[in-house]
């Protein structure tokens, strides 16, 4: 069973400002899902290698030559706050935490 404290910690890690009602519900629902998932921990996995990817490929690196990329104004077209030819954000230093 996940407690509220854990849920709030995970929400903070995930940068989700959940409401109280959401956190309460999340604790119950995630606990149910985790209870179901627990079944896999009963398997004997001694010596079994993990599979993070099914495709047997190595890192594909292209030649280090300059190529055209998106023009600045196109890249910024969907930005909520295109400022000074970049992505405008609130100051990381002005933390309310």
């Amino acid at each position: 069973m996940l407690d509220r404290e854990t849920v709030d910690h995970v929400a903070q890690l995930a940068r989700l400002q959940l409401t109280d009602a959401e956190s309460e519900k999340m604790a119950i629902e995630l606990s149910q899902i985790l209870d179901h998932i627990e079944a896999i921990r009963s398997l004997d996995l001694e010596g079994v290698e993990p599979t993070s990817h099914v495709v047997d490929v190595v890192n594909a690196l292209r030649a280090d030559v300059p190529q055209p990329s998106l023009p600045r104004e196109v890249a910024l077209a969907a930005a909520p706050d295109p400022a000074d030819s970049g992505f405008g954000v609130p100051s990381p230093g002005a933390s309310a935490e």
């Binding site: 993990p50 490929v57 890249a75």
Partner: protein, 478 residues
């Protein structure tokens, strides 16, 4: 002419245009009018005018529905999410571009569960999609808009994506064909990511031949996706009418109690196996000893990858921004709180938890090892069998709202499709018949890159089953 046009499969329409017997503009406008006026909420955007047609190209201007999560330059691409509402990307996904290059035209973007997370299409920020067989029912998900649009004849064919069953399950619920190709065979470039080690694009079509034709023009290695691979074969249009010498394996672990297969689905499945035998196939029970654990592994791996992929939605480069308390962190948190729906938040939380310090090995590490066992189970089974067959989903399309309060019950829809996703192998769902007036899907799975063999077997079964995919002719709504 309009009624006759609607009877044509995409392959037939392309052939008619290429032969000069059908005007591509008339074809396009017939579907555009239907799509724009649809009552199923299957589309999130429909083109307002016709594009240019290349009648001599392989796909000859035949219109295509594209799942919302594919980036299409200048056209809304929102992945069913409020956080991307109105977003028009500056580039086009590779598979969509390849289909344009082959002569396909974009008719509209299809509705989907938010970020492809869901099995009912009820998680879309743009409202649920209705099933054309019965509008009180869901079309399945997450590619529910694509499935409903194809089933209702709003578009000849459509693109979807499948992470744990999101092409195959809605195809089953909507009485059409859905193919999840081998992982890596189609580029993921320009697909708004859910779980990168599982996501794969694929066709949703009226029949197996259309799936083969669409897939032919989708596959290929792409410099923009380092996990894409060159398909060893050119995809062929199927023609086989028998299954002589074909060995079908029915995995006991997926048809047991935990899968909760409905009686009506089981009956339709058993009839399909009988049909396969009559075509010359042998049918035997096989074992995938760890397949019943696939769902648990999937619901760790997919949310873990999602929690990382969805970190990019933070109110900085595109999409929604909600101001915080003047600082960066509260802007992130408020934006994500306002922009994501409940299921997406649930999976981000689950994935973040599974990856967090102290739990990583217990959950994520364990799930990756189980994934190895599942992939090995399939390798072993394919030593004795050509294809693994199961019902695609444990039930038929359920009523809207029936499972929204119980996330686990919703997840169990993927019980028979998730194992193939974890193993990266191709799977196809074809209609096997009706149960209580609603379509039932039959899933066939094959070894990696055996799409041509898979399509041949699915075609032979499709011809023998002779399913009528028209909801209207079967008492449905559309």
């Amino acid at each position: 002419m309009s009624a006759e046009i609607l009877e044509l499969t995409a392959a037939q329409a392309a052939a008619a245009v290429r032969a000069g017997e059908l005007d591509p503009a008339e074809l396009y406008e017939t579907y555009r009018t239907r799509a724009a006026g649809n009552q199923l909420n299957a589309f999130t955007w429909v083109a307002e005018s016709a594009p240019e047609f290349d009648s001599s190209a392989p796909l000859a201007g035949v219109p295509l529905g594209v799942k919302d999560l594919f980036c299409t330059e200048g056209v809304p691409s929102q992945s069913g999410s409020k956080i991307l509402e109105g977003y028009r990307p500056p580039y086009t996904a590779t598979v969509v571009q390849k289909l344009y290059d082959a002569g396909a035209t974009l008719l509209g973007k299809t509705n989907q569960d938010e970020f492809a997370m869901g099995s009912s299409n009820e998680n879309s920020a743009f409202g649920p999609v209705l099933n054309p067989w019965n509008t009180a029912r869901v079309p399945g998900g997450s590619s529910g808009g694509s499935a409903a649009a194809v089933a209702a004849g709003l578009v000849p064919w459509a693109l979807g994506t499948d992470t744990g069953g999101s092409i195959r399950q809605p195809a089953a619920f909507s009485g059409i064909v859905g193919l999840k190709p081998t992982y890596g065979s189609c580029s993921r470039y320009g697909m708004i990511a859910f779980a990168s080690s599982l996501d794969q694009a694929g066709p949703l079509t009226r029949d197996v031949t259309d799936s083969a034709l669409l897939l032919r023009h989708m596959v290929g290695q792409d410099a923009n996706d380092s996990t894409s691979l060159a398909h060893p074969d050119e995809i062929q249009l199927p023609s086989r009418r028998d299954l002589s010498g074909i060995r079908l394996g029915v995995p006991e672990e997926l048809l047991g109690a935990e899968g909760g297969i409905d009686a009506g689905v089981r009956e339709s499945f058993d009839r399909a196996l009988e049909t396969a035998r009559s075509l010359g196939a042998t049918v035997d029970t096989c074992s995938l000893p760890h397949a019943a654990y696939a769902l648990s592994a999937y619901y760790i791996i997919a949310p873990a990858e999602a929690s990382s992929n969805l970190a990019r939605f933070d109110g900085v480069r595109y999409g929604l921004r909600v101001d915080g308390d003047g600082d960066l962190t509260s802007m992130y948190s408020r934006t994500r709180e306002a922009g994501f729906g409940p299921e997406v938040k649930r999976r981000i939380m689950l994935g973040t938890y599974a990856l967090s310090s102290g739990y990583y090995d217990a959950y994520y590490g364990t799930a990756l090892r189980v994934r190895t066992l599942i992939a090995n189970d399939f390798k072993t089974a394919f030593g004795d069998f050509d294809f693994i067959v199961t019902p695609t989903a444990p039930g038929v399309a359920f009523e809207l709202g029936a499972k929204t309060a119980d996330p686990l019950a919703m997840y169990l829809n993927d019980f028979c499709t998730v194992p193939m996703s974890l193993a990266g192998i191709p799977g196809i769902s074809i209609p096997s018949g009706l149960s209580d007036g609603l379509p039932v899907g039959l899933q066939l799975a094959a070894p990696s890159f055996a799409e041509n063999r898979l399509l041949e077997a699915a075609y032979a079964l499709e011809q023998a089953i002779g399913f009528d995919g028209s909801p209207a002719r079967n008492g449905g709504a559309a």
